[in-house]
């Protein structure tokens, strides 16, 4: 690649980065500005709205609930999806297209249609199993399927799953050991990606929770917003920043894990 082409490419990258940065940061900046605005235009900046978050019981409960849901959904998704995808790849490759179709299906179903279908089920769960808001994790498991599937699928495609698992089995490993000691350690980025996407989706989910009469973070934010808009905006900014921080952590950890497994330029 010659020098001028390299320079053009670099400029293009910087422009794209600036545009994307502006696209994401401007609304967040505006929300931050609004959440720190005083009572009048000439009032000094104040963190009252942010302080109020901790003093609003509904919000704190909503944050805790959504974080619990995020953890349960992520772990549930991994426990359900990863072994299934590994099994399908190794033993039932002929049904891989069907599994992919099922996993991607929630993308095409509007949330309202999903709720209509889930409502009778949740009435039954509420009466016979548990009234806990954590039961929402079942619905979220469906919602995160398409994103998690894509991420895990890319991770599995990047390793020679068949050979690695057969090598481990010939050495005496059972299927649980193969999953735990061989498959999972070889796709950390994909698993982190799938987990983060699930967390981000759960933290931002409003429609299903609201229509099923559960109070999670976004429902509480909307509720608080009716009476105290700056505080509700502060929580929304907080949730976005949390997702951003998680993304950065993922990038750093994922990059480090990959570096651990592959050190280029040192082939003997």
């Amino acid at each position: 690649m010659n020098r001028s082409r390299r320079l053009k490419l670099r400029i293009f990258r910087i422009v794209v980065l600036l545009l994307m940065g502006a696209f994401f940061l401007l609304p967040i900046g505006a929300m931050l500005e609004f959440s720190t605005r005083g009572n009048s235009v000439i009032s000094p900046r104040t963190l009252d709205a942010w302080v109020l978050i901790a003093q609003t019981p509904g919000l704190v409960k909503g944050i805790v609930t959504s974080l619990q849901l995020a953890v349960i959904t992520s772990l549930g998704m991994l426990a359900l999806l990863l072994p299934t995808m590994v099994w399908v790849r190794l033993r039932l490759p002929q049904i891989s297209r069907i599994v992919e179709f099922i996993c991607l299906l929630p993308l095409t179903v509007p949330a309202i249609a999903l709720v209509v279908g889930l409502k009778p089920l949740y009435i039954w769960i509420n009466i016979n199993v548990t009234p806990s808001v954590l039961a929402l994790a079942f619905a979220y498991l469906i919602l995160v399927l398409p994103y998690s599937y894509r991420s895990l699928d890319a991770g599995l495609a990047a390793i020679d799953l068949k050979t690695l698992s057969e090598a481990a089995r010939s050495l005496g490993a059972g299927w649980v050991t193969v999953m735990w000691r061989i498959v999972i350690p070889n796709m950390p980025s994909a698993i982190l990606n799938a987990g983060l996407l699930s967390v981000a989706l759960v933290l931002g989910e409003y429609t299903v929770a609201n229509l099923l009469n559960f109070q999670n973070l976004q429902v509480e934010v909307a509720y608080v917003g009716l009476t105290n808009a700056p505080t509700s905006t502060a929580v929304a900014v907080g949730a976005l920043v949390l997702a951003f921080v998680l993304l950065m952590v993922l990038t750093l950890v994922g990059g480090r894990l990959q570096q651990q497994n592959y050190i280029p330029g040192q082939r003997a």
Binding site: T163, S170, Q266
Partner: protein
């Protein structure tokens, strides 16, 4: 074979009894019966799709047989899963666990067998030393060459002191020079450890060089099983003759229990071949050249069209007008017959096989 060795334990007898495997309507393996003596290295050789890898995977427990038995040292292991069979396996594809170092890879099977950390480190170190890679213990797979990865895989397979060693075309991804070196290394290690070994390959040179016995397979069954010299010198079927080594296909006529090829009477390996036109399979080593005497046109007089240098020997290709014939001889002899030389061929009167499927074509 079979004696107790310093590095490992005595090998055990391995038997495959009427093993069959079908994939839908396709019969991948058809009642294969094969007994391997303790400490013996048997190579299964054949073209793609002949069933050799299926046989190995059935022994490993990575596939389930439709019928038949696999017996290790008198114990029926047919129903056992791969993880309980106690086999060591080296794969065609690089199979080192990428997130582990060479030492950790070799120690993996020992960890599963609940060996202590000290024992694991000592045994894994020994195995790496056995394959000549003790200085590479801390390297990851991505930091090793293909040949080194396969040697670590061999060390990993042997570390658990398996009953049987299974090698599934372990050299096919390597370049020719590394392949030849590693082939000798595998044989040295196998003899050193004294383990019963099944080696699957499509490379005849590899099979003939490394094995105590070679089994040539075709369409799911064993065509011939025997020592490499027997397979090469006395092939039991036309398929074996053509698959193992180079063969001239010379038209002739079967009569009175012999086949007449361009005026030369050659004995038959299988005397019950029906009379009539036939294709005789003649090894290049059984063809010799003469440049003296009368060179008038005749059935075995022709012109050298190519001389291929193979090292100590050379292969000379002679055009007889209607067919070409290959002759293999010492390079010093071949030097006197450069391309363009008129030569007279002589066929050594070794027993030859008849290519049955070609006979019909000749008849037609």
């Amino acid at each position: 074979m079979g004696s107790e060795t310093a590095r490992g334990h005595a090998g055990v007898e391995v038997r495959m009894e009427e093993l069959s495997r079908r994939y839908g309507p396709v019969v991948a393996l058809n009642e294969l019966t094969l007994t391997m003596a303790p400490g013996e290295l048997v190579a299964l050789l054949g073209p793609s799709g002949c069933g050799k890898t299926t046989a190995l995977r059935l022994v490993a427990g990575l596939e389930e047989a439709n019928s038949g038995r696999v017996v290790f040292g008198g114990k029926d292991v047919t129903g056992l899963p791969a993880s309980k069979r106690d086999v060591g396996m080296v794969f065609q594809a690089y199979s080192l666990f990428p997130h582990m170092t060479a030492l950790q890879n070799v120690a993996f099977g020992l960890t599963l067998r609940r060996k202590t950390a000290d024992e694991r480190r000592r045994r894994a170190g020994e195995m790496l030393e056995l394959v000549g890679l003790s200085g590479f213990a801390d390297r990851y797979a991505s930091q090793l060459s293909g040949g080194q990865q396969q040697r670590v895989a061999l060390a990993r397979a042997l570390a658990i002191e398996p009953t049987v060693l299974l090698l599934d075309e372990p050299l096919s991804a390597l370049d020719a020079k590394v392949r030849s070196r590693l082939r000798d290394e595998i044989r040295r290690v196998q003899l050193d450890v004294g383990i019963t070994t099944l080696f699957v390959t499509h490379d005849q040179e590899e099979a003939l060089a490394i094995a105590d016995r070679v089994g040539v397979m075709q369409s799911g069954h064993l065509e011939q099983l025997g020592p490499p010299t027997e397979i090469y010198a006395r092939p039991a079927t036309p398929f074996v003759a053509e698959f193992v080594g180079l063969t001239n296909r010379l038209p002739g006529e079967v009569k009175f229990g012999m086949v007449e090829v361009r005026g030369t009477q050659l004995p038959l390996v299988q005397p019950n071949v029906p009379t009539g036109p036939a294709i005789a399979l003649v090894r290049p080593e059984a063809v010799s050249l003469a440049t003296d005497g009368v060179m008038a046109a005749g059935p075995l007089v022709g012109t050298v069209i190519a001389v291929a240098f193979l090292g100590a020997t050379s292969r000379v290709t002679v055009d007889l007008g209607d067919i070409t014939v290959m002759a293999q001889m010492p390079t010093s002899t071949a030097a006197s017959t450069p391309a363009g030389t008129r030569v007279r061929l002589a066929l050594r009167e070794d027993p030859v096989l008849i290519a049955r499927e070609e006979k019909a074509a000749v008849d037609a």
